[in-house]
Symmetry: C2
Subunit: 379 residues, 2 copies
Amino acid sequence: MNDMNEATTTGILTIDLQALQQNYQNIRDYCLNFDSNIAVSAVVKANGYGLGMAEVSTALYKAGCRLFYVATPDEGMALRKTLADIDIFILDGLFIDAEKIYQTHNLIPCLSSQAQISNWYSYGQSIGTQLPCVLHLNTGINRLGLNLAGFKAMPTTITQSLNIHHVMSHFASADVPDDAQNLTQIAEIKQIVDFSPQLDYSFGNSPGIAYEPLQNMDFLNTHIMRPGVALCGVKTTDNYPIELKPVVSLFVRVLQTSSLEVGDMVGYGHQFTATKPMRTAIVAAGYADGMFRSLATSTENSGYFEFKGHKLPILGRVSMDMMVLDISQVPDGALNEGDFVEIFGQNISLAQVANWAGTIEYEILTSLGPRFLRNYING
Amino acid sequence: MNDMNEATTTGILTIDLQALQQNYQNIRDYCLNFDSNIAVSAVVKANGYGLGMAEVSTALYKAGCRLFYVATPDEGMALRKTLADIDIFILDGLFIDAEKIYQTHNLIPCLSSQAQISNWYSYGQSIGTQLPCVLHLNTGINRLGLNLAGFKAMPTTITQSLNIHHVMSHFASADVPDDAQNLTQIAEIKQIVDFSPQLDYSFGNSPGIAYEPLQNMDFLNTHIMRPGVALCGVKTTDNYPIELKPVVSLFVRVLQTSSLEVGDMVGYGHQFTATKPMRTAIVAAGYADGMFRSLATSTENSGYFEFKGHKLPILGRVSMDMMVLDISQVPDGALNEGDFVEIFGQNISLAQVANWAGTIEYEILTSLGPRFLRNYING
């Protein structure tokens, strides 16, 4: 899609890099206020939460970030081409027989199993130097990560030789501060730190940063916070204590305006039938662009978008490449072919769109399709 | 993601180009059996339904296809770079002030409004030749398209000068053959054809091909069928009359195997709690890859995947980059880090995955993320 430009694009996803940088700065200021041993990294996996890994990472680099997490080695290799002098941590861990690839691109695996630890150690032995790694421990989310017992069970010849950049673990419910499981995970973490107090650690994701017990861990050597979606301006708890600027907005093109008479039906399966004369706009965004079909499962619960102060409810089902919007509230002639309407931005929040679709802001962001022009501003 | 290869990929999306070609051939044979005036085009919008527009289109070209529909001018420009001597129809219509771009890349707009018709005509006047266009008429779906009355209301100096490649319209419920609205659309179509019997027409999408009243339209000059998702092997009705071969399968990498004890909870919000000892595999596909969060809204209704004849149910919520699967039914030691499990393919159908996610196969296909290696076979 190299020919993409405003004249031919179906939608414009605007990403405010200065707002992104400000969010990074605000998070860092907030954390350092609690604990001067905190470092703030950035999670830029899934193409920087859909906003463009290269552009997002470069902006964060300029804001002072030098520690980056991605999910996969492919993402790590792509990021390495963008930024040479950063640490890149691979959350997916070490893939089988991929040690040399990690070394070549200077990627640091988050080792999550005994097999991965052994393989990374053996590779270090074979090349005469132990390359850095992160140790990924499971403290209760039961996804990736080795239990402390499993780590302790490893031969000390191995574990004591590892070049451990830091130890990380992940919370299951940091966005629900009074969830009892958080305390179980905290207790587990304390055991880990007691076992290896000299190491650096990383526990706080976007909601974790705001979770009080993680803020006051000054018994840690260095505590690396790992915001991801918060950098994109998404507040992960109701009373998120850090000011975050909105980073992203989406406007999509009106392909055509039309009208409905009483009895006219709209879209596949004619889920909507007009009970009064209406005016419509057909806009160039559908489920192939991340506008989930679940945004409009029934007329009563469908989402709406915005144009100059007017609500534009979705009529009928979301199609692959388009949606039909009710523009009856917009003065006749004020909204025309070639205009752009707001899907989210100043007037419609990403949270609202996610709520209509029955999901979370993360999934909306990571589903935004490649057909939208990414328009980076304030870079 | 140019460095992507099997050693570092998280998942392998295999696309059988020969099966795709066979489906095209089967559809063509089926249609020509009814009516020798049928031509069969291909719809390859949304990146060829997620399978790769360039590769899919090239394979279909080799199978004899010369008529291609895409949604957007950006898609059209990309496809033009792949194939020089095909007709490319832009379903989104003619964008404002983009006439020269369409001409430069030899793109044929599906004109859907009086404004677009006027603009295309005026552009033709200005360059001394009327370039081809498709006329997109609305017969009842009430998305894009001009009503016949609106078309008739245009000055005949314009409409009679247009270089109309064909006239198209779209059915709202061709997948529900006994839906009464189909007959209303058919009646509308007959009026259109009566008005301009000398033109070529296109009415049948993937379900439309199988809809009987569209099969026997030998009163049409040429009838262009427009299969899209059917080419990908998706049967759009319960008794789809054409044999379609499966085109696509997805296998994803096991990042780690682990185990759960009674009371262990899995994933964000610990939606799942183990009531017995279990073994798990954490696989490298999450909602950023098109594995919808709605695949696992509750333990009772979650989907499952497959490994060597064993079901692997999803445990807890789908994360952005991974899912946790129950592998307790797989013999101990038979499924290990680095193995790949089937998300869909021979054992799990795309339809099943779509059903678990509460959507349709189209949305699963168009949401498959860029982190999977596209592995084209039999090309």
